[in-house]
Subunit: 340 residues, 2 copies
């Protein structure tokens, strides 16, 4: 019998998230249907946990994953998506939400999407089981899309995400300091889910194989760019706007692209040694984070994100022209501008 | 970065598990294929965790769930099951294994299937992620069965299991002391997975709707009987043979049928009050467990299990006769004899 502490703190996030106006216009009505599907999650006991799930679902950012999925449906000739298409879009967002819940247990982070995380207010048991429950509901939504290939991709993606988290939690410091490890990590954590959003929707909309290849490439490029921009913002954002200290990733031992680029440019910086092992003192982190955020490493990382977004946009050449295709391009274009 | 303690202790279980000889003969070859599917779980890092997964999979009891599933395939005219049928049988066992891993985190139990549990040797993070990874692989196996209805049932069952665990972890003591709560709990924890084993296999083998109803009823009756017998054995078994102290469930606050029957027969027993709240001292538990195991409550609980097994056996009237159908009957018959 585990006691439950009440969840009291809900802090609004002011993170500068962008959804391109064209994209927002095109999917507004469908996103409401996705929202309804998400909130149709079966009630769980105790009531306090049910409320917490509502909080998690309601503080849900810009719904960028379902937005991309819905635009894919539009670009494939389904501007008014079927129930199946709505379900797969909701499944991806629910999968994302479930991984966030378990992530909070794993990295012990105190805030997520500006709301107090489940883990900060709840016991580990409640966190594990709530995450499991949301995984189960994500799988139900994916199954309700009635596409065996989409379902297979969903299950595979879940495996990729978890394997990535295992590597991130248990890999050695040497390995963590490599670009290869970083790319593998952000693919597993972020890009794989965008590939799922685009490709599973492709399956649901009966896309042809060359369209599926294009959707996979768009999801990959957009997802990689998306995570790199996020990692840049961790350095360039202000504490007040991102809701956590500047350089929070580095401070908890997460080596991201800005640090990797900085280390290449400044191999002799004596503060790097403890940072790569995740064991500097606070003053050292303050100093190093400040040096990284004002270094050319940031611009170099932006260029990498830009290249990935370019790959994504070029892949869309394989789709015939439509407002949704334009919106997918605009989204990739504008999203990589977030870091500036 | 979480440190990993090596897993050193592997203790062999001597739990008296029975698989009827006819059943064992019929599925021996197919069980090897299921075993191969289970061990085809993708490798994870670090290597230590990969080894732990191997230990969990190799100490896997009698494979009663896939045995039932394979016999269902046989009873439906597929004594040599397709790859799809093998995959759904493996999916159920993998789902069961994944829930055991998270259960170990939840109930803090130190032994499971006689092997040191993952949680005893590993950090909570490793346990959560390893469980997640096995859930993902279970979903991949289920998807590889290529049946949308089987997949939907798989996802629903996962939801039922987790919702049951949430209730078990967070329900109040008053509610826990009821027969209704007990039956709901063992349905969620055990019978739902047998329903999945029989009914999902029915879908994969294209069973007709009255066959599906019969399979569902068999899975339900067998699963309920199975768990009740397990709960009886917790009182009647010897520590050396079940690998845990007699009355272990009661000692950790789990109220099962023998205790519920005992409480009806002996409402005035003063030791029941603290037991129902899960907070007796050791001597009181020793005394109470001894009184329960020597009371008529055990025989009454056996009768309930017997009735459920009878329901299961009667349901099979709807299937045409075959060696596999006989084995399913014999299995239910013999299994409920385990408690004696």
């Amino acid at each position: 019998m585990t006691a439950i502490a009440p969840m009291t703190t809900v802090i609004k996030t002011a993170a500068p998230r962008v959804t391109h106006a064209l994209a927002a216009d095109l999917v507004r009505a469908q996103l409401k249907r996705v929202e309804a599907a998400l909130h149709a999650v079966p009630a769980i006991e105790p009531a306090g946990l049910r409320d917490a799930v509502e909080v998690i679902l309601s503080s849900g950012g810009k719904r960028i994953r379902p937005t991309v999925a819905l635009l894919v449906a539009g670009a494939l000739g389904h501007p008014t998506p079927s129930e199946e298409a709505i379900n797969i879009a909701a499944a991806v967002e629910m999968l994302h939400t479930a991984t966030l819940v378990h992530d909070d247990l794993i990295d012990g982070s105190l805030m997520r999407r500006g709301a107090a995380t489940l883990n900060a207010a709840w016991t580990p048991v409640a966190t594990v089981l709530t995450g499991d429950f949301l995984f189960a509901y994500a799988a139900q939504l994916a199954a309700a899309a009635n596409s065996m290939p989409a379902m297979k991709l969903f299950a595979e993606t879940l495996g990729v995400i978890v394997a990535g988290e295992l590597r991130q939690s248990f890999s050695g410091w040497t390995e963590r300091g490599t670009r290869e490890d970083y790319e593998r990590r952000i693919y597993a954590k972020t890009a794989s889910m965008f590939v799922l959003a685009t490709t599973a929707m492709g399956h649901v909309c009966a896309a042809k194989s060359e369209q599926l290849a294009a959707l996979r490439a768009y999801g990959h490029g957009f997802g990689m760019a998306f995570q790199i921009v996020d990692d840049i913002l961790d350095f360039t954002g202000e504490q007040s706007s991102v809701g956590k200290p500047v350089g929070a990733d580095l401070r908890r031992g997460l080596i991201t692209l800005p640090t990797l680029r900085y280390a290449r440019l400044n191999p002799a910086d004596p503060d790097l040694a403890c940072a790569m092992r995740g064991e500097c003192d606070r003053a050292t982190y303050d100093r190093l984070v400040d040096r990284i955020r004002h270094s050319p490493a940031i611009e170099e990382a932006r260029r990498v994100a830009h290249d990935y977004a370019g790959d994504a946009i070029r892949a869309l050449d394989a789709l015939s022209d439509s407002p949704s295709r334009h919106a997918l391009i605009a989204l990739a274009d504008e999203y990589i501008g977030r870091g500036h």
